[in-house]
């Protein structure tokens, strides 16, 4: 009797993770210790023990059942992008795991922190072509920051600790942990979880070298026409304030890559717009006129630079990046500044002179005027019979006042959304930048809503991309996810069609895509919606969408053959940007 009572006491004092638990229970305890609240996943044979354990954790861990594993990983990406936390994915072995590959590649190139847990066949079956066995670790090696296969439950605590640390530290990225079924059911002495904060072979942050900052400050202080271009590094480094302080003191105009968008509010007087292929006219043209180009947390993607041998050749280049392999990868820097921009930007701000550059800023204003005449007016206040994508975004800005999270898919609508959406706060623009993954938008919007539950989340998706992952309407239905979906339907795979029009003599090879009745489709998932094609009804329909309680799908019929301009044609220099 007495002993029994003592045991009860012990159970009360010690959490159940003190000893002898299964690998699955240990995994879930670790997720709790890492303050994970939401998991996006899909069960299957090889991950069943983890799902069985999860049944007892339903009150502590929210699991969102998606309709396809690709949906789970894009949702986790959306979650990570709006919340700044690590996105968690569960998937089974074989097809479950291979369905994650696109999302991993997307997260890798866009530096999104994820920890993906995949089930794997029993360790003794590895290499036997067992049912749903696939060599996930090797398949995902090029698209993960780190991956590891666990075959013994005792490895779970230390490997998971490393996984979280690697995913979120330095330049973030996706990590995949493959756990064999035997390790999930194996019992072991789990002595609690110790988070990892150091790996001897891994330097998440390079050491900041002040002499380079001094050299950079000297260049900036001597510059007549300095120009800042910034990317997602500012957001990932949580250095939005530091960045703002830097440009405000130095008075330097700043333009963004599409992943840097929302790090600086879009109506800031020094925010001169978007870079790259469909970016704004001024920033592209003046890239080839500035005398000092300061790149902050961006990687000179070819869609930003256009033709490299004609890119900013006249300028001295200062490149701030946390990842040493990005320095001099595409564009040779005059002064490299290795380091976390949260650290380096304040150091640089201290060293630069307080200045303004009114004449130089006026150059941007002049070119903006030119873009207004040729593009903005046509896009935002069109007089054509058909609706334009731009006017939809313009009205949306009016109604949300730039407070919404905008998730976009890939294509023309993405470029229009990024060009015209208004943003007042950071972590508000979620899009697939580096990989350009069509089908990203809908699932990412689901995750974005879980990552920012108090904010309006509006997904802007094309008719093509929507059909790639529309099964996730089921996820929205089952979990009552309050996302607003705008389909900008031009009845074409618009971006490819635009290229075919401009460069392939209008040979519209397989870009004419038919769609189902999207509104009826949403209705079958018990999601409200409507279709609009008239200008006088557009604003009201957007209002209705935003005011609706719960998810809503608004299909906007837009002009079939509208083009996105300005455009830097492939193989051209940024200064050869075309306005029409």
């Amino acid at each position: 009797m007495e002993t029994l009572e003592i045991t009860k006491e012990e159970i009360k004092q010690e959490p159940k993770n003190a000893t002898n638990v299964t690998g699955s229970v240990a995994l879930l305890e670790i997720l709790l210790a890492e303050k994970v609240k939401t998991i996006f996943g899909y069960p299957g044979g090889a991950i069943m023990p983890i799902y069985d354990a999860l049944y007892d954790y339903r009150d502590k861990l929210e699991h969102i059942l998606v309709r396809h594993e690709q949906g789970s990983i894009h949702a986790a990406q959306g979650f990570a992008r709006t919340s700044g936390e690590v996105g968690i994915v569960f998937a089974t072995s074989g097809p479950g795991a291979t369905n994650l590959v696109t999302g991993l590649a997307d997260a890798m190139i866009d530096s999104t922190p994820l920890v993906c847990i995949t089930g794997q066949v029993f360790a003794h079956l590895l290499g036997t072509d067992a049912f749903q066995e696939t060599d996930v670790v090797n398949i995902t090696t090029p698209v993960t920051k780190w991956n590891y296969q666990i075959t013994d439950a005792t490895e779970i605590p230390s490997v998971l600790a490393k996984a979280f640390y690697i995913a979120r530290s330095g330049r973030p990225g996706p990590v995949l942990i493959d756990i064999t079924k035997n390790a999930q059911i194996q019992k072991f002495d789990f002595e609690g979880y110790v988070p990892c904060n150091h790996i001897r072979s891994y330097r998440p942050k390079p050491i900041v070298r002040p002499e380079y900052l001094e050299a950079a400050a000297k260049l900036i202080n001597e510059a007549k026409k300095p120009f800042v271009i910034f990317g997602q590094g500012v957001i990932l480094g949580e250095a939005e304030k530091e960045f703002k302080a830097f440009i405000e003191k130095s008075g330097i105009p700043a333009a963004w890559t599409i992943l840097g968008l929302s790090a600086l509010s879009t109506d800031h007087p020094l925010n001169v717009g978007m870079l790259g292929m469909h970016g704004n006219y001024g920033p592209n043209v003046l890239t080839n006129e500035c005398d000092v180009l300061i790149a902050v947390g961006m990687r000179f993607d070819d869609r930003v630079t256009g033709r490299l041998d004609k890119y900013a050749k006249q300028a001295k280049i200062i490149h701030l990046d946390i990842d040493p392999s990005e320095i001099d990868k595409n564009v040779k820097s005059t002064v490299p500044v290795w380091g976390d921009c949260k650290e380096t930007l304040p150091m640089l701000t201290k060293l630069v002179d307080k200045k303004t550059h009114p004449e130089w800023l006026a150059r941007f204003e002049d070119l903006k005027q030119k873009e207004t005449e040729t593009c903005f007016n046509k896009d935002l206040r069109p007089t054509s019979d058909t609706l334009s994508m731009g006017e939809v975004i313009n009205l949306l800005n009016e109604l949300t006042d730039g407070n919404a999270v905008i998730v976009s898919d890939v294509g023309q609508h993405q470029m229009v959304a990024c060009r015209y959406a208004k943003f007042n706060q950071t972590r508000s623009n979620v899009t697939s930048g580096g990989l350009g993954t069509m089908g990203f938008g809908l699932p990412a919007a689901i995750g974005a809503k879980f990552g920012a539950p108090d904010r309006d989340v509006v997904a802007i998706i094309g008719d093509g991309g929507f059909q790639m992952t529309l099964q996730e309407l089921g996820t929205i239905m089952q979990n009552d996810v309050n996302v607003k979906i705008i389909i900008l339907n031009n009845e074409f795979l618009g971006m490819v069609r635009q290229w075919q029009e401009l460069f392939n003599e209008r040979r519209y090879s397989f870009t004419d895509i038919q769609s189902p009745d999207f509104v009826a489709l949403a209705a079958s998932y018990r999601i409200a919606g409507q279709r609009v094609s008239e200008r006088d009804k557009l604003k009201d329909s957007l209002k209705q969408m935003l005011e609706h309680k719960g998810a809503y799908l608004l299909e906007v019929m837009v002009g079939k053959e509208h083009n996105v301009f300005p455009m830097v044609p492939q193989g051209c220099s940024v200064s050869e940007i075309r306005l029409s």
Binding site: H124, N138, D152, Q186, Y202, D323, S325
Partner: protein, 211 residues
């Protein structure tokens, strides 16, 4: 190799300045690290001429020697990509005149040929070959040296019936490295390496099922 040289001279647009480089990488002893490193080359369609990976003098740390032919510009980027891998401690790259290197080769020749022909014996002597196994029907010789030297001996032995030949990858020491050994040792002493955990269940079917 020779075709590449001709190509460069004909087409001036091709990147010039390619040469042989030896990349030295210190890594954790982890399953999969070989793949992580090798795909950095294959992704860019770069051929690895030879590769040696073996435990370094310090247990738990492995050393890779990778030989490729590329330009200095490409090498810089490759080495940064290698160093970026979580399980890589350090990577260096050097041109041939910055290193001391050796390749080992084994030659299997019919014992008759050596016993009967004094010329063969002289030849082996001249190349500094050492007999490592002498059997009734064949003898195995070993030489250590640069590629050209082993190539020459193959050529010389060919007429006498070379049965089998193999050569190792390059092992290289960097000339101006001062004290890697003590550095690596100190590093390992401060932060000991983790144990490699291999799959122990491959032949334990029933045990796994009753786990």
């Amino acid at each position: 190799m020779s075709t590449q040289q001709i190509d460069t001279s004909i087409n001036s647009l091709l990147p010039t300045g390619k040469q042989e480089y030896t990349i030295t990488v210190y890594t954790e002893n982890q399953i999969g690290i070989l793949n992580r490193i090798s795909i950095i080359f294959s992704r860019r369609k770069i051929n690895i001429h030879n590769l040696n990976t073996s435990p370094s003098e310090v247990p738990g740390i492995h050393r890779f020697n990778i030989v490729i032919e590329e330009t200095d510009e490409v090498l810089k980027k490759l080495v940064r990509q290698i160093e970026k891998q979580v399980d890589v401690l350090k990577a260096y790259y050097n041109t041939n005149d910055e290193i001391i290197w050796q390749e080992m080769a084994l030659y299997k020749v019919p014992t008759d040929a050596i016993a009967e022909k004094a010329k063969v014996e002289r030849l082996l002597h001249q190349f500094g070959a050492r007999a490592v196994a002498i059997r009734k029907d064949y003898t195995v010789f070993e030489t250590t040296g640069h590629r050209e030297e082993t190539d020459k001996l193959i050529e010389a032995l060919e007429p006498y019936g070379l049965i089998e030949f193999v050569r190792s990858a390059r092992v290289a020491i960097i000339k101006d490295s001062s004290g890697f050994h003590s550095k690596v040792k100190e590093f390992e002493k401060r932060q000991p390496s983790e144990e490699v955990i291999e799959n122990e269940f491959l032949d334990k079917q029933e045990e796994v099922f009753t786990m």
